[in-house]
């Protein structure tokens, strides 16, 4: 049963065209030849696994040499030396390798077929959950960079944007398996250049959208919260029997009421320190806490204020200068915030950068000398805290989910590579498995290219049907230097 599921996963990865005949042929080939990693070949009916003899960077209790980790029923069951595999548990020899918790990207638009609903200034009714594309190849590439979880956010075109989804990258699983069931819901806010639509100029016949300034942006927020407060009052009155007519359900205001009730996390895209302060003051006015300032390029300028509010900051480790509001960003941002006691995470906001967040964490050691474990926490435990999933993931501790990355060398070394990435003990990326799959993919491609239908024009084939080079959804923050809405 388990074997069949793993095979199906393989097929999902390798098949560009889900032809059953090809799929069957691939299964036959794999069954015949096996794969280089024997545990896969002899895979047992569960995801229980014993990782032997690794250098384990726990992210909470330091680095443990020559240590074993037992994962059973998706959870870390034991951490120690000289553990033996219970019956039916496969073993991975990680001698000479490093093990870290799965990386958590606190700002991503991976999997999203659309990112910005930009028509209104408040689009709190929209949900990234409705946009998830589980076949997005960037998921697999992120796994190959050690990322196991991500905060999939709406874009930054609105003062108040859409609702987020916190997922685990269970590549090959049905889309329903991706959202983390007990992750608290969140919502995107935004301030600054994107919201005021800096790059847009007036077009004939098209009015500019309000707001066009930072002054207007914060008033848009205030207006939304005032309306949400009234709305809540109307419902409270109705529920208390003070009014007879049931208020109409308002999909825009419901999530904002949840913010007021402390049930929904605010992830606020912000660059300049003054706009961050605007929001923190607004949060004081309405009695809620901002969960994270996203990007927070100038957060270092107001680290004490942010610390006082108990707000987290999720940053690029060192991006700067790509727009005016990014001109004062410095690579010591993480260090200054950390020194002030702020919970800092390092995100990618990019399908490309997501693959090398380990190196972004390494840079925090360079800029300010943040200790190794604290730097590692910025891509593991801290984003888990910011997303409210730290009870289950973000560190290597007994009882937490078996979200684990095995590296060929210290993850802060530029020469290290991910060997294996697992979520709840299930392997979603494995370098050896990948080597086999790429051969199969190449063969499949070659076969397909020889088909009549795919022959070059004028060589006797039918009309050409060459697929577009890459599916390109709107990439809100993801594109570098090409005028993206970052």
């Amino acid at each position: 049963m388990r074997k069949a599921i793993v095979f199906l996963l393989l097929i999902a990865i390798t098949s560009i065209l889900p032809t059953f005949a090809l799929a069957q042929a691939k299964i036959d080939v794999l069954v015949k030849n096996g794969t280089p990693n024997t545990w896969f070949k002899d895979s047992v009916a569960n995801n229980d696994v014993l990782i032997k003899n690794a250098t384990v960077m726990t992210a909470v209790k330091g680095t443990l040499e020559n240590t074993d980790i037992l994962i059973q029923n998706g959870k870390i069951a034991k951490i120690g030396k000289g553990l033996t595999a219970p019956a039916g548990v496969r073993t991975i020899d990680a001698t000479g390798k490093y093990v870290t918790p799965g990386i958590i990207d606190c700002h991503s638009h991976s999997m999203l077929d659309a990112i910005n609903e930009g028509a209104f200034s408040v689009t709190s009714m929209t949900r990234t959950r409705d946009m998830l594309n589980p076949t997005d190849i960037t998921i697999y590439r992120a796994l190959a960079g050690g990322v196991t979880s991500a905060n999939l956010l709406h874009g930054s075109a609105n003062s108040i944007g859409g609702q987020n989804t916190t997922v685990k990258f269970k590549w090959g699983h049905p889309v329903e398996d991706y959202p983390i069931p007990d992750a608290p819901p969140g919502i995107k806010f935004a301030m600054g250049e994107n919201v005021r639509q800096t790059t847009q100029s007036p077009q004939p016949g098209r009015a500019l959208r309000y707001p066009r300034t930072r002054q207007g942006t914060i008033e848009t927020d205030r207006d939304a919260f005032l309306r949400a407060r009234d709305y809540k009052q109307a419902w409270d009155d109705f529920k208390a029997g003070k009014t007879k007519v049931q208020p109409r359900k308002d999909l825009e205001l419901e999530p904002i009421v949840e913010i007021l009730e402390g049930k929904r996390l605010v992830h606020a895209h912000s660059y300049r320190s003054d706009e961050m302060l605007n929001l923190l003051l607004l949060a004081d006015e309405f009695g809620f806490r901002v969960a994270t300032l996203q990007h927070g390029l100038e957060a270092y300028k107001i680290a004490p204020e942010i610390a006082k509010h108990g707000t987290g900051v999720s940053i690029f480790t060192d991006s700067w200068g790509y727009k005016l509001e990014a001109y004062d960003a410095i690579p010591w941002n993480a260090y200054i915030l950390w020194k002030n006691g702020v919970v800092v995470s390092i995100n990618s906001d990019s399908d490309e950068r997501m693959r090398r967040l380990n190196l972004d964490a390494a840079k925090v050691e360079k800029y300010g000398g943040v200790p190794e474990q604290d730097a590692l926490q910025m891509i593991t435990l801290n984003p888990a805290k910011q997303l409210g999933i730290d009870k289950r993931t973000g560190s290597i501790e007994v009882g937490k989910d078996g979200d684990i990355v095995i590296w060929t060398a210290h993850p802060f070394s530029v020469y290290s590579r991910v060997e294996t990435t697992m979520i709840e003990g299930e392997v979603f990326f494995d370098r050896a498995m990948d080597s086999q799959m790429r051969l199969d993919t190449a063969n499949e491609r070659e076969t397909l290219e020889k088909l009549d239908v795919n022959r070059a024009p004028g060589t006797g084939g039918g009309p050409p049907r060459i697929p577009a080079e890459k599916r390109r959804g709107e990439r809100d923050e993801a594109e570098y230097g090409d005028g993206g809405n970052r």
């Binding site: 250049e193 727009k323 005016l324 390494a362 360079k366 230097g481």
Partner: protein, 463 residues
């Protein structure tokens, strides 16, 4: 012979420079006395000249064996000595190299340094793209802002030299090789007018193709045959420009010999093509896909040019054509996603090792406009994680780019006589955790400050 020629031509210049350096030394010396109590005040942002000896360090020469415990002497802007136990000139400022490593300054051959301060929505700071399709006479050196904040931010991560490339149109203009130090573009210039940048027409088909090359295509073709036809038309257009320039230059030559011929009116743009047309200077073609790179190779062969590829995702696949035509590659795709969904996840990380194996001359570049050029060592390091040896990874951002840029006689390794572009670190220069301790550009000790260190100092202790 070549060297002698350069010497005789530049003898005066060298005298002048060394005289200036001596003068600077004197001025700085007096500065030292006056401001001895004031840390760093003697250093202006272009650093200070002097005679320096880095003693007892690990010397990673790149060109030869690494010296575990050696000395590097910097004098008159040049590397004057390298080795274990070599004599130190009297009066040299000694730098204790214990526990430190010395590397040649890194070189990024694919930036647009100084041409754009803030690319998005700050148009006044962007001098990257001239209007029109044919700008052979546009020269990056005339647009480079020597006081861009990117320059100091970049160099204090160990990058001492870059190629700055204009873009846009079909023929974008001429790229410049610059050192990341100097108060004027001329002080920065290593090769003022190095290569001509051409966005080689690509087969733009379906979706959004990549490379962004081509011009005036009127949108993308919906059909492959049509896409090929459009590409061919554009390549023909390009050839026509070159043929026009040939004809123009022939007319000029003819007139020079025979003044009875009609005088050919000067054409500033065609005139600018001359050194490239004659193969005296290289043409830099942006191209990514195998078919486009092979297209470049054919063009280079047809027109008898000196070619360089900028981009080069699939250059390894066209190794035969590239080697046959002596075309090197400035590879800019480490921080990039594979284009096709079925490409291996490490397709672009592996490309440098594949070029190395196939014998293609290449170097690794960030391909970044300016702000992220400081990440150059990590681009090389990642190639090192995926097949390239650590030694070749280091070469791919030092000696190899120097070779591609034709300045390997001056820089790219630690050898006596080369320009003193030197970086002293506390570890492997390609590692993100490594710190730069000292650096020298043309023998000047560069202050390790930037817009970023200044902002850091302003806010780090705010309560």
């Amino acid at each position: 012979m070549n060297k002698a020629k350069i010497k005789s031509k530049k003898a005066k210049m060298v005298d002048f420079v060394s005289a200036s350096l001596r003068l600077c030394g004197l001025i700085l010396l007096s500065g030292l006395i006056v401001f001895a109590q004031n840390d760093g005040a003697e250093q202006n942002k272009t650093g200070r000249a002097g005679t320096f000896a880095i003693v007892g360090a690990k010397i990673v020469t790149v060109s030869g064996a690494t010296i575990e415990n050696g000395t590097v002497v910097i004098q008159n802007g040049k590397i004057a000595g390298v080795g274990a136990g070599i004599p130190i000139p009297s009066g040299a400022e000694k730098i204790d190299g214990k526990g430190l490593s010395v590397f040649p300054g890194m070189i990024d051959a694919g930036t647009s340094m100084g041409l754009a301060e803030i690319t998005l929505a700050v148009n006044g700071s962007v001098d990257l793209t001239e209007t029109g399709t044919m700008n052979a006479n546009a020269k990056a050196i005339k647009g480079i802002h020597p006081h861009s904040a990117h320059i100091n931010v970049t160099r204090i991560n160990g990058i001492t030299t870059v190629l700055s490339v204009p873009n846009g149109g079909l023929i974008s203009g001429q790229a410049a090789v610059i050192n990341l130090n100097g108060s004027t573009p001329d002080e920065m210039a290593v090769v003022r007018e190095f290569g001509l940048v051409i966005n080689f027409p690509t087969i733009a088909f379906g979706g959004r193709g990549f490379g962004g090359g081509g011009f005036g295509g009127g949108g993308q073709a919906t059909d492959f045959t049509e896409a090929v036809r459009r590409r061919d038309t554009q390549v023909d257009e390009l050839k026509k420009i070159f043929r026009n320039a040939e004809a123009y230059l022939r007319a000029k030559d003819a007139y020079a010999k025979d003044k009875t011929l009609p005088y050919p009116a000067t054409d500033i743009k065609l005139e600018a093509l001359a050194p490239f047309l004659r193969g005296e200077k290289p043409v830099i073609f942006t191209a990514e896909r195998e078919r486009d790179i092979r297209g470049v190779a054919k063009f280079v062969a047809d027109m008898k040019l000196k070619g360089i590829i900028l981009g080069g995702q699939e250059a390894w696949k066209a190794a035969d054509d590239l080697k046959k035509n002596n075309i090197s590659v400035i590879y800019t795709n480490i921080y990039a996603l594979p284009v096709r969904d079925d490409d291996p996840y490490d397709y672009l990380f592996q490309a440098p090792s594949k070029m190395q194996a196939a014998g293609v001359k290449f170097c690794i570049s960030t391909g970044d406009t300016g702000p992220e050029v400081r990440d150059l060592p990590y681009h090389a390091g990642l190639a090192g994680a995926f097949g390239l040896s650590k030694e070749d990874a280091l070469k791919s951002v030092t000696l190899y780019p120097a070779e591609v840029l034709g300045v390997a006689d001056k820089m790219g390794s630690i050898d006596v006589g080369k320009v003193a572009n030197i970086v002293v670190t506390d570890g492997d220069i390609l590692q993100p955790t490594t710190n730069i301790k000292y650096m020298f550009i043309t023998g000047r000790m560069i202050p390790l400050t930037s817009r970023h260190t200044e902002l850091f100092d302003s806010f780090k202790d705010r309560k």
